[in-house]
């Protein structure tokens, strides 16, 4: 943690030095100090004026949480089914592999058509980003459970349900958690695109960045990127802590 902060400090210093030395022209990249000032402005004055940073962040968090949550809710059961049944896998995998490479961005027109401009569209796009990593990790988690664990349970008299509860689910857990972490990361990556569609309320970090771009406030664009990075980092850190807790046995 401390080392991580040091690395950030060093990187910021280099960035500042480059800007001061004029290696990077100011109109292409704001310096850390300018970015900090922009963050301050976003936090207290807002972009557009009155729309403050923390409210943008809360709205975005809500969308990412809803999209990722939905992906987890639907992706884990589907992944479990895929992992457990080779027959189902052979039927469903081609469809999944067909849908998977289609970028969430490409879905924007359909999302707007289906869900209209607003929350649901944005959540749908984030869901698309997060869904496949969750499905695939869960599937490989179940498939990677060692046969001897299942057989040990069978010999001890376990039925189908007990095997699920006592072996397959806990055995798949490490992969599932990795999938959720990756899914949430991709959910954040989809956010800005998603907020092209879903900002009727005028809040969202992605929306804020696009607004700053329209006003040619490059410093506030970068500040918005920094804000997303910080939130993503904090969430990853939290999830990693939860995983370590749950996976003490690995």
């Amino acid at each position: 943690m401390l080392r991580g902060l040091k690395v950030f400090a060093v990187l910021c210093c280099c960035w500042e030095a480059f800007c001061l030395a004029g290696v990077v022209p100011g109109e292409l990249l704001p310096s850390p100090v300018e970015t900090g000032r922009a963050l301050w402005e976003l936090a207290w004055k807002g972009m557009p004026p009155g729309h403050l940073l923390h409210r943008h962040a809360l709205h975005s968090l809500g969308r990412v949480a809803a999209g990722t949550g939905l992906a987890v809710l639907l992706g884990i059961p589907l992944g479990l089914a895929l992992g457990a049944s080779a027959r189902f896998r052979s039927v469903a995998q081609p469809v999944i592999n067909f849908l998977r490479p289609i970028p969430p961005l490409a879905w924007i027109p359909l999302a707007i058509l289906w869900f209209g401009l607003g929350f649901a569209s944005a959540v749908y796009l984030i869901f698309l980003g997060a869904f496949f990593p969750v499905v695939l990790s869960t599937c490989s988690g179940v498939a990677s459970v060692e046969r001897v664990h299942v057989e040990a349970l069978k010999v001890l008299g376990a039925g189908r349900w007990a095997i699920w509860r006592k072996v397959l689910l806990p055995g798949a857990m490490p992969s599932v958690l990795t999938g959720v972490r990756v899914g949430m990361g991709i959910g954040w990556m989809t956010l800005v695109a998603a907020e092209f569609t879903g900002v009727r309320g005028g809040y969202g970090l992605g929306f804020m960045i696009m607004n700053a771009r329209d006003l040619q406030r490059i410093d506030e664009v970068v500040a918005g990127m920094v804000a997303i990075g910080c939130i993503g980092l904090a969430m990853e850190w939290g999830l990693a802590r939860v995983s370590r807790r749950l996976l003490r046995w690995t």
């Binding site: 664990h149 040990a152 069978k154 001890l156 008299g157 007990a162 806990p170 046995w249 690995t250």
Partner: protein, 250 residues
């Protein structure tokens, strides 16, 4: 408690796509008296594991019968790979079989503590399998198998992966436990010394399709002298039998 085991005319054929069916066991007979240790030796790939899997109910034989005295008697099995659940502590692993057969919680705890004490694992009750030495893991696997009081205990080369010293101490440990409890044990191994040291009888398997080549009664008091003249004579005899089998197939 300890049951006798009777196997008659057991036959197991594996049908594989694109090649000849493989007959692993054919006309296999075995009698294991209640409370005895019967060692089964055979060359690698002679069908020893298949035999145990048929007894344990993990494979369905194509013909023949596996019968145990005593109604509703269960088998327990110690796997070569042990199959301890890595996400469960030592306590939870030992309790697994009793959770599955519906033993009340209080009784479960009592039995687990008895095993921890008797097996010298008292200090490791809350440790995870990865934190244990090879020998201790073996003990946990044996405790987990014995805790639900199976009528017959199957052991599939459980000590094959241990170093020499640990294996020797596991031999005396197993005999100690057996002397106290008098379980019926079917012990499969490719190690002739081990088979003679542990067994009341040693059954030598032929190569595929496996039948019983011969059954020797080891009528020596325990503890036995592994390198004493009686044990050596038996080992030489078994080795000769196996050599003749190898020569016969060439």
């Amino acid at each position: 408690m300890a049951c006798s085991l009777t196997i008659r005319e057991l036959r197991k054929v594996y049908h594989r796509q694109g090649s000849e069916p493989l007959t692993v066991l054919d006309g296999f007979d075995l009698d294991v008296p209640a409370g005895a240790i019967v060692s089964i030796v055979g060359l690698n790939g002679s069908g020893k594991t298949t035999l145990l899997r048929c007894i344990a109910g993990l494979e369905v034989p194509d013909a023949g019968s596996v019968e145990m005295s005593g109604d509703g008697a269960a088998v327990g099995m110690v796997f070569q790979e042990l199959g301890l659940l890595p996400w469960r502590t030592v306590r939870q692993n030992i309790a697994l079989g009793m959770e599955l057969d519906g033993t009340p919680k209080a009784r479960r705890r009592e039995v687990v503590e008895t095993f921890l004490d008797a097996f010298g694992l008292a200090a490791f009750g809350d440790a995870y399998p990865k934190e244990l030495s090879g020998g201790m893991r073996q003990k946990v696997a044996i405790a987990r198998t014995l805790a639900p009081e199976p009528g017959v205990v199957l052991m599939d080369e459980p000590f094959a992966a241990l170093d020499c010293r640990t294996r020797m101490s596991m031999h005396s440990f197993l005999l100690e436990v057996w002397a106290r409890r008098r379980d019926t044990i079917v012990f499969v191994t490719h190690d002739i010394e081990e088979a003679v040291y542990l067994g009341d009888r040693v059954v030598v398997m032929t190569q595929k399709p496996a039948r019983v080549a011969e059954t020797l009664v080891v009528d020596l008091p325990r503890p036995r002298d592994k390198t004493g003249s009686e044990c050596n004579a038996l080992r030489r005899h078994i080795l000769d039998t196996m050599r003749r089998m190898c020569a016969g197939t060439r």
